[in-house]
Assembly symmetry: C2
Homo-oligomer: 93 residues x 2
């Protein structure tokens, strides 16, 4: 049985010409982001869609997108030093 | 029983004046990084040391550092689109 990953972190380094497009694609699938790090619940089906959209936009020789897949929100613990990101996130959305 | 987290991702948004110091601290504890994302095995004891060092440097009103703690390397799966980061990492170190 293969694992069903339902939570993901995504971060990238994308050339300036393409970064806005990549940002827009990622924002469709993830609620939370800060700088070039996105994260949130995502179904395996949506993860495939997301990857297909990204593949059409990125330059495979220059850019990268790393996706860290986790079973669910409870397989990790989060800690933040400094200002409360949750608060600034809610100002953005 | 509390969980023993032994793997972590760390990402930050730090003011220009302090970012180099923060980068240097994180590099002491983590082998791999790309842009402002670090990750790797880290003992609970080292995680505490890292946080204490960071707290001395960051401006709590302006900066943030998020640490995602995982039990081990096998609780997540990783996928990369685009260029091979592992390769570019080995060029840096």
């Amino acid at each position: 049985m293969s694992n069903n990953y339902n939570y993901a972190f995504l971060f990238y380094d994308i050339g300036e010409k393409r970064v806005h497009k990549v940002f827009k694609i990622c924002k469709k699938y993830f609620k939370h982001h800060q700088k070039s790090v996105f994260r949130g619940n995502i179904t395996p089906a949506n993860l495939i869609k997301l990857k297909n959209e990204l593949k059409k936009v990125i330059d495979e020789d220059k850019d990268f997108v790393t996706i860290i897949k986790l079973l669910n929100r409870y397989t990790f613990e989060e800690e933040t030093l400094g200002k409360d990101i949750k608060q600034s996130e809610s100002l953005i959305f």
